[in-house]
């Protein structure tokens, strides 16, 4: 039994998406625009299928995904370690805090040409830049989370004879986990942005390159199919992190987008 208010709200939820698709298709079919500017959804879908069945374009997707994931994972490991260290040690906070807060607003992307010279034009320069851009949000949120750990928990763990390392791993990290995952969710889209940007600027493979290449060869429908593919990867990665979060931080429900 579908109640009317539910159906109405479900309809409103889909309204904008459906409307957008209809307007797009109408514009494409009206003949007012060249198919180069507004290709029809059917053509984009065909190109998307073409991308999905061809090994070369799947390899491009894999290159992009690999760079994003390697850079992000490194940033997650180093960022959580640094954040916990800064949260639980005043010396580390005094030394590292000013460096992070001072360089936080500086766009790291400007260093990309230097990285190309230092690490070559291949994947390494891109991975390093992704690492650097992802590091900041993870360090900042982990720092905040590990500072906010309930003191009673720390005292009771110490009282029961836990070593410092054990307290960090068994008490501080789980207590800071909601914050850490908030940082991950900010960092992951950044990793996707940076991988696409760097591939657009200088690369011979990856989805960013494929998008620019399709545009340069006037294949707008293919370019839009690449855009859809990038979007799907972005949504899928975000969904994975949320799934992992709900598994690991099962005691706290995610009701706000940023778990603060």
């Amino acid at each position: 039994m579908i109640r009317w208010p539910d159906a109405a709200s479900a309809g409103r939820r889909m309204a904008l998406l459906v409307l957008g698709a209809l307007v797009w298709e109408a514009a494409a079919r009206s003949g007012a625009f060249s198919p180069l500017v507004v290709p029809s959804i059917a053509r984009i879908g065909r190109e998307l299928w073409w991308l999905l069945v061809r090994p070369e374009s799947l390899a491009d997707a894999w290159f992009s995904l690999q760079r994003a994931i390697v850079g992000f994972t490194l940033a997650a490991a180093v960022g959580v370690a640094l954040g916990v260290l800064m949260g639980r040690s005043s010396i580390a906070a005094a030394c590292l805090g000013p460096i992070f807060s001072g360089t936080y607003p500086i766009p790291k992307i400007a260093l990309f040409p230097v990285f190309i010279y230092l690490f070559g034009i291949g994947s390494l320069s891109k991975v390093v830049l992704i690492f650097l851009e992802c590091l900041y949000p993870i360090v900042v949120t982990t720092h905040a989370g590990s500072r906010a750990v309930n003191r009673v928990l720390l005292w009771s763990a110490a009282n029961m004879g836990a070593s410092r390392a054990r307290i960090l791993w068994r008490v501080v990290v789980p207590a800071a986990a909601p914050f850490i995952f908030a940082g991950f969710r900010i960092a992951l889209p950044i990793a996707m942005i940076v991988v696409i940007i760097t591939e657009m600027i200088s690369s011979a493979d990856g989805l960013g390159y494929l998008a620019m290449y399709s545009l340069a060869s006037f294949k707008t429908d293919r370019m839009l199919a690449v855009v859809v593919m990038i979007a799907l990867i972005g949504v899928a990665l975000d969904w994975l992190v949320t799934l992992l979060r709900d598994r690991l931080v099962f005691w706290e429900k995610l009701d706000s987008y940023y778990a603060e």
């Binding site: 807060s101 936080y104 855009v227």
Partner: protein, 251 residues
């Protein structure tokens, strides 16, 4: 941050620069330059007028993009936070497209509005929209019901409650969103300029890199860093002014 932390931070920064300077006295490739050399080049570029026009070109793109994107984001976010039907209309689309890297729209926007400044402003505005919308949305939704009730009880109209209760309550969130948007606007500004532009700091970095003018490349990088840092400080200053009550309450 207290005074001692500032001193330690400054000392650390100077230490790193000194180490860098020392390390540069050894034999090194041409693309590694010492801090003193970079400072010298910076002054030269300011004098010769090679830098300032590009700074201007970048600001002409980033400021409208940031202002338009974050303004629309804040307004729609606040409205979606208080109005159920608008929430149901907008939020699914916003949250679905949030993890999509907005830079992918650059090629298609270029196709629609041309490769000039307009395409860059549009992409920057699009990227700035999201953090502002999401933060304003949660800020408005987080308004304590008690405050709305007491407002209503004292005879406030809906618009009054929106202005006097919802907006002030959401302001800390809005500023958090603005800060993220500001950082994003610079990332997108420089990358769109690196991808295609004939002016601007991103263009200058690319151009000088490919013509092996490493002096100018570092000058542009320093300018980018300075611009990012200065605008963030400006935003924090405005926040301290606007949110004086909030800072005082949390201290």
């Amino acid at each position: 941050m207290g005074a001692p932390a500032r001193v330690i931070g400054l000392a650390l920064l100077l230490g790193i620069l000194a180490l860098w300077q020392l390390a540069s006295s050894f034999e090194r490739p041409e693309f590694v330059q010492s801090p003193l050399e970079i400072a010298g080049h910076f002054v030269d570029a300011l004098r010769s007028g090679e830098l300032l026009p590009h700074v201007g070109a970048s600001l002409v793109r980033s400021i409208p993009g940031f202002v338009i994107g974050s303004l629309i984001g804040v307004i729609l976010g606040l409205l979606a936070g208080v109005a159920r039907s608008l929430d149901q209309l907008l939020s699914p689309v916003v949250f679905l497209t949030y993890p999509v890297p907005k830079i992918v729209f650059l090629p298609i926007v270029m196709l629609w509005v041309g490769i000039g400044d307009m395409s860059k402003i549009t992409v920057i505005a699009l990227a700035c929209f999201y953090p502002c919308f999401i933060n304003a949305y949660y800020g408005a939704r987080g308004t304590p019901t008690i405050m709305v009730w007491s407002g209503l009880n004292m005879g406030a109209r809906r618009t009054q409650i929106f202005r006097k209760v919802v907006i002030p309550g959401a302001l800390p969130f809005i500023f958090a969103g603005l800060r993220v948007s500001l950082a994003l606007s610079f990332i997108l500004l420089f990358s769109t300029e690196m991808i295609n532009a004939r002016s601007g700091l991103g263009f200058l970095i690319r151009q000088s890199e490919s013509s092996l003018r490493f002096d100018l490349m570092y000058v542009a990088i320093v300018a980018v860093a300075g611009l990012g840092y200065a605008s963030d400080q400006l935003l924090l200053f405005v926040r301290r002014r606007v949110l004086a009550w909030h800072e005082a309450a949390s201290r």
